[in-house]
Point group: C2
Chain length 223, copies 2
Amino acid sequence: MTLRRADFIRESLEQMIVTGALANGERLDETALSERFGCSRTPLREAFQALAASGLIELLPHRGAFVRHPSLTQMVEMFEVMAELEAFCGRLAARRVTSEDLVRLHETVLACEEAVRANDHDCYYHENERFHHLLYRASGNSFLADQASRLHARLKPFRRLQLRVRGRLEQSLAEHRVILEALENGSADETAAALRDHVAVQGGKFNDLMASYNASPLSAQQA
Amino acid sequence: MTLRRADFIRESLEQMIVTGALANGERLDETALSERFGCSRTPLREAFQALAASGLIELLPHRGAFVRHPSLTQMVEMFEVMAELEAFCGRLAARRVTSEDLVRLHETVLACEEAVRANDHDCYYHENERFHHLLYRASGNSFLADQASRLHARLKPFRRLQLRVRGRLEQSLAEHRVILEALENGSADETAAALRDHVAVQGGKFNDLMASYNASPLSAQQA
DNA sequence: AACGCAATAATTGTATACAATATGGTTGAC
DNA sequence: GTCAACCATATTGTATACAATTATTGCGTT
């Protein structure tokens, strides 16, 4: 039971940052936040350390904690890395995937199909998460899986925006099917390529992303 | 000027962990360490947060901080990811590298040659670091460069052990030459492949690594 | 003798008090 | 009138005191 006050605060602040409730460049006032959370500055400062480590805020000595939303450039850079990490997961998984993994992956694809039919974006979103995390684990490299999961989590708000684009659900589902088929065939190159294309921000997707970025509350001026 | 006590402590503890001065599974006593560093528990706890974020220690609620050295399996996993990250850096750099970057890379290769002639392992080690960091930056993706640098830093103690193996210096230098040549030719595939081979733990290198791992102070029993 | 429970001790988590540093405004000189 | 230096204020960094939780040890029971 991890009932540490600091952990709760970290998660809360993380939510507030990624949802845009806290604007970019905003300074996190320790006193104000401690009153808001009904605690002292101590657990807040511990939460700050963790947030700074994951890059969500910047900690300037004797000056305070500042929210750092990724710029459009940084976001594209992160997606570029994410695409490569996922491709590598797929490459390894093509050799190492177990039959149980494949069963679970098939389940998520079926669930995704159901979600598309029902036009249930939230459901699709969650099954999509499950598909990707299963894939990370199927790589057989737990360190890689952790790294991929972390970056995946950081890109979460932007992915959510992307899925709002009309027709993206169906396209995403079709790509999942291609990935899974390549995986079952055990062809590493095809799996990797399919995942890279699935994740990478390129062509029309870039314009969609840029549009949603500009429309999102995260788009406040950069430092 | 970042003269925070907590930052100094973090670096100190980091050193103590990676050098093996702190054994695996060892519990970090807040009171004992605060006396040793001549400070209170507060900056120590902040340092713990940062160390936990980079995976060097594990923070169990109400139980304390425990040193977590990577197991041989985890180490191999990390090298597997490192190889892929560097390969990707090379792939991008092959398209994006500037002439200034190439000049600097040539300088490090020359310095490495000098170090090999003088049989100066420390000098070679530092120039090797410089070569790789230049490459990360040359990828033109600063997020990727950061991620690569972080993992590179975490693998530092093990790489140092590897370079001790007889003949490894000359082989490493030769590989640097191949990488740089591929980079100058602008051939992404060759650069990526050369870097993957350079970093990957495979064949005889695996045995060398395993031997040095078992001989190192980090090899204490896993949790 | 072994197991379980309870009280005690030790350690972590949090609050508060104090010290050090940066920021902003005011005053003075040029 | 502008710039620079200095002081006042606010905020961060650290120390210490207190609360909450866990580990340990001893005792009693089976």
